[in-house]
Amino acid sequence: MDARTLAALVLQCRNGDRGAWDALVEQYWQRLYSYAVQATRSNELANDLVQETFLRVVQKLERYEDQGKFEAWLFRILVNLVRDNSRSASRHPVRSGNVGVGDQMVDLIDSMPGKSDSPEAPLEHKEHLDRLYTAMEKLPELDRQVLLLRHYGDMPFKEIAKTLDCPLGTVLARAHRALGKLRVLMEVGHETPQ
């Protein structure tokens, strides 16, 4: 969706057009949900947080000044909600409805189609992904956040910079560092079982 169409859609939403709100949800919910699931490791919680994100947009859209940063604003709301939830969860570790990273990822990997005809290939791929998810979990929070926003939020680095309110160079440096650590962690994880 180009900037002009998005601005028109946001204006319609501001005027209370339900159809425009539905279109806005259709445009963004999957990317928000995908990021939220990975960040919270819970489908249920991700669902709640995405819904809460849109509700906050409904409440705050009146005061929103369109400067071509709607997407960044939308994701910033979600990122803040995820962060607040994470802080709250760390204060109250036992939380119903949370799915452990292993369960979540195994479900995901199981549902993936194999990429090779070899009978060992799906298993190898699953192990590879398992290591990748585990490695992602070990990344520092800010570095991990950049990678999640880039991949699951499908955001360009420039938009991530706007979302996190920091320079593009900082975001790229974090991403580069995170990818390097991820590679190292993957190699360590691959060598450990042997």
Binding site: R18, W29, I109, R150, G169, R183
Partner: protein, 208 residues
């Protein structure tokens, strides 16, 4: 050779390129740079490999079936519609409250103005009545002072005494500094003189 982006390092520029965010001109510069310098080429391939690793992670939305997607989207939309309804209701209530409070303020203002006007009217009427009584008493005094007949004078004195009594009841005498006070003193003096006139026979008058 000129660097593709003077604000970013080579690795950062490579990352932008593999992410598909580099403009055509900058991309051309980067490709030339990478083709010229083996170290740059190595760095580029390293960044591309790492980014591909990230890209290999499956996305959640690809794993959801259409029913689940429709359900999640419907839930979000339902929440938004409810919120919009609540927002409209709240706006209507706020508008009604503004109208109500505006009306109440206006009504209170009118009521206060009426009370003040009524108070002013009552005080004004009392003052007028008081002045009228004083004027009446003075007129009676004048009439008494001018009469020569003892019987007529007595009846006028009685009238005067009644008016004075009414004035006393209305508080005209007791109020110090009141306008009526000086008039009252005059009246009392006049009354004394009337009594003196009635009791002392005029020369040549036997009194019977």
């Amino acid at each position: 050779m000129k660097r593709p982006n003077k604000h970013l390092s080579l690795s950062q520029t490579c990352l932008l390129d593999v992410s598909g965010e580099l403009g055509p001109k900058a991309r051309e510069h980067l490709q030339q740079h990478v083709a010229t310098y083996p170290a740059a080429h190595l760095e580029y391939e390293l960044v591309r490999g790492r980014f591909a690793m990230l890209q290999s992670l499956p996305k959640i939305e690809d794993q959801l079936d259409q029913v689940s997607k429709a359900r999640i989207a419907a839930n979000i939309k339902k929440g938004i519609h409810q919120s919009l309804d609540q927002q409209r209701k709240a706006q209507r209530q706020a508008k009604l409250a503004r109208v109500f409070y505006g009306f109440m303020a206006a009504a209170s203002g009118v009521a206060a103005a009426l009370v003040v006007a009524a108070g002013v009217y009552i005080v004004h009427e009392r003052q007028l009545a008081h002045r009228q009584r004083i004027i009446d008493a003075e007129n009676t005094f004048q009439e008494v002072a001018q009469t020569q007949l003892p019987g007529e004078g007595k009846s006028r004195v009685d009238t005067l005494a009644r008016r004075i009594s009414r004035l006393e009841q209305s508080g005209g005498i007791s109020a110090e500094g009141n306008v009526g006070n000086s008039h009252m003193m005059n009246l009392l003096d006049a009354l004394d003189s009337v009594h003196a006139t009635d009791s002392v026979p005029a020369p040549g008058d036997s009194g019977y």
